[in-house]
């Protein structure tokens, strides 16, 4: 297996996905509108600033930015036979799924960057450790993009992908410390929150924005572990469903 050939294939698929799906006018406008509306809504509710809420809002933008499009893209390509076209090429299934995850990651990064700019430039939030923030944001988009891929390979229809995505997205918003700190949750919910990757994203982003950057190494390791695990599960499930 030539790594250069695999990388060439991955880049070709990412470029094609961005051109064919992600950076189409309706998706760009949604990508810009979604963080603006979200940030404005919360800034009206908290006129003194969004310092506490900003990490959660950025994580939320990353969660929705990655999963909303990616699950649709994979399911759609499965449905119309375009994913089969990719499988006919001399490229491994792992590379195909990595390229799909990268497509979602880039789109999620764009949306969460817009949210970051809005909250820091206009709504009083601050980034105390830019390098750590960038690493955490990148990992947040990768892990949730991988989650989107896992959802997409589990279902057959586009609408099923959307419904299943919502099953985990909305509970995550309430469980992962975006609005309510984990310490104030009942013990059972706290354990449940610890199973969800968004919890670690919010925690690590908060550390880079309002606290010291030293406490986030474990979060970074957990997010990396989740990314690898979700990619692995996507490949296994895709192969199993195909057989």
């Amino acid at each position: 297996m030539s790594i250069i050939e695999e990388l060439g294939g991955i880049l070709a698929i990412v470029e094609k996905d961005l051109k064919a799906y992600y950076f189409k006018p309706p998706n760009i406008s949604w990508g810009i509108l979604f963080p603006i509306v979200l940030a404005l809504s919360f800034s009206l509710r908290n006129p003194e600033g969004l310092t506490d809420l900003a990490p959660g809002l950025i994580a939320m933008a990353a969660l929705f930015g990655t999963t909303s499009m990616e699950a649709i893209v994979i399911t759609f390509e499965k449905r119309v036979g375009a994913l089969e076209r990719l499988q006919l090429a001399p490229i491994t299934l792992a590379s195909i799924l990595i390229s799909k995850i990268l497509g979602g990651t880039i789109f999620g990064l764009v949306i969460s960057t817009i949210m970051t700019l809005l909250t820091t430039l206009f709504l009083g939030a601050e980034i105390t450790n830019l390098l750590a923030f960038t690493v955490v944001l990148l990992l947040t988009t990768i892990v949730h993009s991988a989650l989107g891929a896992l959802v997409a390979v589990s279902v057959k229809e586009v609408f099923e992908a959307q419904t299943l995505s919502n099953y985990f997205r909305f509970p995550m918003i309430f469980l992962c410390g975006i609005f309510l700190p984990l310490e104030r949750m009942p013990t059972a919910l706290r354990y449940l929150a610890r199973l969800l990757p968004l919890t670690y994203s919010v925690e690590a982003l908060r550390a880079t924005m309002v606290e010291t950057a030293e406490v986030i190494l474990s979060d970074i390791m957990i997010l990396t572990g989740y990314s690898i695990l979700l990619l692995y599960l996507s490949i296994v499930l895709f192969r199993k469903n195909q057989e």
């Binding site: 470029e15 375009a82 001399p90």
Partner: protein
């Protein structure tokens, strides 16, 4: 030299045996037809040979590479044209071809030359900037074929290549297939158009319920039934005739479709007498009676035990 070598290949999905212990060889430069009704196992066989699904047992080599152990080497050497479109609606013809060329690692220097070559071959130049979604069915088919040939594969798998095309587009596509074989490319073709297989294929394998019932040249397959005359009786009021009414006739095969009774029999006189009796009894008008030499379609019916009509109806989703 052998392009495809299949040995005792089987595939089951749960308890369903889709492909049952098939063995055959395809020679280099040959056009090999794979014929059978829906559900016979044609697509499953192709999916195994092109590396989309793994066989349950048996082995197969494509261009000398094992399909399970070396799928990457197999994929580099094959082109696949599926029955339905597998390109991207949102991209233009050129963008689709450029994307496929990158997937097959065609160097940037060769890329534009190859794209131009397939655009010329398939007369797609004037549409090259048009979005794939906006193309006619014939143009889409040509673009899919162009994309499959971009990396100059040694073997091309064509799944129902002329399905749904108008007469002219189908004829053009058949011409392209013949030109490909002249350049030494091996073609593995599935079709439900028997006469098309007869025109294009050097050899044909007949597949029924996952098993190969015969592999031979179209001429040899025709010869199997050539000694038995075919009686064709054109009738009106077909609805008055029940399939059971014809069962008493001594024949190798009897088929009733579109107002015509086809009887493959050595006893023409006996069959005709019986049909006349039935026609009188059921008040059925006979328009025409002919005795003809059976063709490839009749060989197919006799060898597979299936009627062509049932095969077409399955294909068109009427059942």
């Amino acid at each position: 030299m052998v392009a495809i070598d299949v040995k005792e290949l089987s595939k089951s999905w749960g308890k369903t045996l889709a492909v049952d212990n098939i063995s055959f060889q395809v020679k280099e430069g040959e056009v090999f037809g794979f014929l059978g009704p829906n559900g016979a196992g044609k697509t499953t066989t192709i999916k195994m040979l092109v590396g989309l699904t793994k066989p349950t047992s048996g082995s197969a080599y494509v261009s000398g590479y094992n399909i399970v152990e070396e799928p990457r080497e197999v994929k580099k050497r094959i082109g696949v044209v599926p029955e339905s479109s597998n390109l991207y609606d949102e991209l233009s013809i050129s963008q689709n071809l450029r994307f496929v060329s990158k997937l097959y690692h065609i160097s940037s220097i060769r890329r534009e030359q190859r794209i131009q070559k397939v655009l010329d071959t398939f007369q797609l130049n004037e549409y090259s900037n048009r979005r794939f979604a906006k193309l006619s069915k014939g143009l889409k088919r040509r673009t899919i074929l162009a994309a499959a040939l971009l990396h100059e594969p040694q073997i091309v798998f064509l799944d129902e290549p002329t399905s749904g095309l108008d007469v002219l587009s189908a004829r053009n596509l058949r011409q392209v297939i013949l030109e490909l074989t002249e350049s030494g490319v091996t073609i593995f073709l599935t079709t439900h158009y028997i006469e098309e297989a007869g025109q294009l294929c050097d050899r044909i394998a007949l597949l029924v319920k996952g098993r190969i019932v015969e592999v031979d040249t179209p001429e040899a397959l025709r010869d199997i039934v050539q000694d038995t005359p075919l009686l064709k009786i054109s009738i009106a009021n077909e609805q008055r005739l029940a399939p059971d009414d014809l069962q008493g006739i001594q024949a190798e095969n009897i088929m009733l479709s579109h107002g015509e009774i086809s009887i493959l029999t050595q006893d023409i006189q006996g069959a005709l007498s019986r049909v006349m009796e039935i026609a009188t009894e059921k008040k059925i008008t006979i328009h025409d009676i002919q005795t003809v030499k059976p063709g490839l379609e009749d060989a197919f019916i006799q060898l597979t035990g299936l009627s062509l009509e049932s095969m077409r109806m399955e294909k068109e989703g009427k059942r």
